[in-house]
Symmetry: C2
Subunit: 345 residues, 2 copies
C-alpha cells in the first residue's frame, strides 16, 4: 500500500547561529522556515504546536558552550529550547493525545517534537489558559513556590529577603513567604516596581537598587539578620546578604542573573567562614527537581490567584519574530512581569 | 566573723597582646602570672584547673578583630580561649562539683572561670583520659563525626572527598564515612600522611596536594562526581570540588584553613550556577550546633576506637610555655595528629 500523501506546513524556527558574547544579539539567532512534519515520531514522543513561549533568563545559560555535564547546552544550529504551552498534534506517548493542551519545555518553533518524560510536560487543567500556563501558573511561578518553601524552608515569623523581587519567580517567592507568615523585604529597580511590590504584593519593605545602597539598607532592615534569602541576582547582592544572614539562615540560589551575560563565571560570595560560624546553608535548585509535586503547587497557586491573594503581571508580546528581542529585554530591567510571547498570529 | 584567709597560687596565662597579622607571632601573646583565686564566683560558674589544651585552628579566627556578630573575638588583653580538659576545683553550678573531670571551652591558663551552660562543658566518662578527652574523643573528632553524618548526610555508597584528611576532624570524617559504607578519597600533604590514611584509616584513595595536581586527580577519581565533600581547606580546593560535584551533592564547610592567616576573607567558590543546576547544597556548621547530641556520638567514637576501627594520632607537647608554638604548627602542616599541649608539668 502506498503511504498516504501528507500535507506539509511551514515550521518557523529560531535556531542558535553562534554562541552569544554578553547579551545575545540578533545575529546570534537564525530564522529558518523548515517544514512540518519531517521524520516519523519515535515511541514516547509527541509533537506540540506551540502557542505561547515563556522567556526565562536561564535560557541564556543554555546558549553557552557545553563542557559542564550539569548544564544543558544548545548545539549550534539547534532550535532554542524554552518553556511553552500549546496543543498536542501527534502522539506516540500513552498519556498524551492529539488535542491535549500542555505546558512543556519546548523550543522556539511552531511545531516541536517533545519527549514528555524528559521535559516536564503536563496537561493543563481546563480552567488554565495558554498564557496563564506559562505565566502565573508556569515554571517561573513554580520556581518561586518550591524555592521559598522547600529550599528556603520558610517558617512563620522568618525574616525573608528576595532579590529580583519584581521578577516572575521572585514576586511569587516573596508573596508565598508573606502567605506563610514571614516578614518580607524585596529588592527591585525603580519606583514603579517598588510600588507594585508594596501595594499589590503586600511586601513589608523594598530596597530600590537603582537609588539606594543595598548593603546599607539590608543592615538597616535586618538588624537581627536574614533568616531566608531568595536570590535571583548573585554577585554583590549575594555577598551583602551573606554578610547579614542570621544564625542557621538559608540562602536559596534560584538564579544569578548578574552573570548570565558575562563570559566569566559570576563571583560567588567571598567569606565561607560566615557560613561556618552561622551554620548557614546555601543551596541551589531547579524547578525540575520538584516536577513530581507540581500538581499540589498548582492547586495552591490557582487558589491564591483566583481569590486575589497572589498578584501577578504578564508582559505579553506578539508574533514569532518578537521572541529574541523579548528574551533580551529580561536583562535590562525594562520588562514588567513575566515575559511571554504569544505566536498564535 | 572574719573571712577565712585563703591561699593564693600562681595562675599562668597566655593573653592576646595584639591582633596577629598572618601567622601569629610570639609577640602577639603575652605571658602573665596572675593569681588564683581572684573574684568570687557568680551563680552558674565553675573554676576548672586545666590539664590539656586542644590546639584547634579556629582559635586563630577568634584572634581577629570583632565586627561580625557571628564570630567570637578575643579582646586584647584577654586570655586566649580554647578547648581543654581539666578538673573542677570550685563550683556554683548545680551539675558540677569539685573533683569532676570535664572537657570544656576553657582558656590558656591554669585556672579558668567557666560558664558550663555556654561552653559545651561535659563530665568525662571514667574510662576517658584527659588527653583522649581533647583528642580522639574531643571537639575535633566530634566535628568530623557530626559534619560528615549530619551536615553531609552520608548514605551508603556515596562518593566522598575529604580535604585536610590527615587532620583531626578530617581523619574522623573520612573514617566515619568509610564505616558508613562510602567510598572515600582524602586530600593530604606528603607520603607519610597519605600512607597513614590508606593503610591505617582504610581510605580508598589519596590525593597528595604536595606532589599531585588536585583538580586533575579529583576529576580522575570522581568520573561520576562527588556526592559529599567535607572541606577543611577552602580556596582552590573548594573550587575544584564544586566543579566536580554530582547532582544533589552536599558540601560540608568545616573550616577554611587556607584563609585563617590572611587578613582578607578567603575566596569562596566562583560559580554559583553549578550549585543551581546541580541542586547542590553548601552548608557550614560548628560542632556546638550539635552539643545536645554529644553523648551518642561519643558512644560511637569510643566503641570504634576501642575495637580498633578508628585510627587516631595525637601530637602531644608538654608545658605551658609550649602552647603558642604548638598552636602555630597547625598551619604549616608539620604536625601529625591532633595537637594537644599537656600542662601538667
Amino acid at each position: 500500500m502506498m503511504p498516504r500523501p501528507q500535507m506539509t506546513t511551514i515550521n518557523r524556527q529560531w535556531r542558535l547561529a553562534r554562541r552569544p558574547s554578553g547579551i545575545a544579539k540578533r545575529e546570534d539567532f537564525e530564522y529558518v522556515e523548515a517544514s512540518y512534519p519531517t521524520t516519523p515520531l519515535q515511541d514516547g514522543e509527541v509533537v506540540v504546536n506551540n502557542y505561547a513561549f515563556l522567556c526565562a533568563p536561564t535560557i541564556r545559560n543554555w546558549m553557552d558552550p557545553p563542557g559542564n555535564s550539569l548544564y544543558p547546552s544548545i548545539n549550534l544550529g539547534q532550535v532554542i529550547m524554552g518553556p511553552a504551552s500549546g496543543v498536542v498534534v501527534e502522539s506516540r506517548h500513552p498519556d498524551f493525545s492529539p488535542g491535549d493542551r500542555v505546558a512543556t519545555i519546548s523550543s522556539w518553533q511552531d511545531y516541536a517534537v517533545i519527549r514528555p518524560d524528559q521535559s516536564m510536560t503536563r496537561v493543563l487543567p481546563d480552567d488554565h489558559g495558554f498564557i496563564e500556563a506559562v505565566g502565573v501558573f508556569g515554571l517561573n511561578s513554580l520556581t518561586g513556590y518550591f524555592g521559598i518553601r522547600e529550599v528556603g524552608a520558610i517558617q512563620s515569623g522568618d525574616r525573608v529577603l528576595v532579590s529580583g523581587a519584581a521578577g516572575s519567580a521572585g514576586s511569587v517567592a516573596a508573596q508565598v513567604a508573606k502567605l506563610g507568615g514571614c516578614n518580607v523585604v524585596g529588592i527591585a529597580g525603580g519606583p514603579e516596581k517598588c510600588r507594585w511590590l508594596l501595594e499589590d504584593c503586600g511586601l513589608d519593605a523594598i530596597i530600590d537598587y537603582k537609588s539606594e545602597d543595598i548593603r546599607t539598607r539590608i543592615s538597616e532592615l535586618f538588624p537581627d539578620g536574614i533568616n531566608v534569602f531568595f536570590d535571583n541576582v548573585g554577585g554583590e547582592i549575594l555577598q551583602a546578604a551573606v554578610d547579614n544572614m542570621a544564625e542557621f539562615g538559608r540562602i536559596v540560589l534560584c538564579g544569578q542573573i548578574t552573570g548570565y551575560n558575562d563570559n566569566a563565571a559570576p563571583e560567588g560570595p567571598r567569606n565561607m567562614m560566615r557560613l561556618i560560624y552561622g551554620g548557614i546553608r546555601m543551596q541551589g535548585f531547579l524547578v525540575g527537581h520538584f516536577a513530581d509535586r507540581f500538581d499540589n503547587a498548582l492547586r495552591d497557586l490557582t487558589e491564591w490567584e483566583r481569590s486575589g491573594r497572589l498578584a501577578h503581571r504578564e508582559d505579553v508580546r506578539s508574533g514569532f519574530a518578537a521572541i529574541p528581542g523579548a528574551f533580551n529585554s529580561l536583562f535590562d530591567g525594562s520588562n514588567t512581569g513575566t515575559l511571554i510571547v504569544n505566536i498564535d498570529a
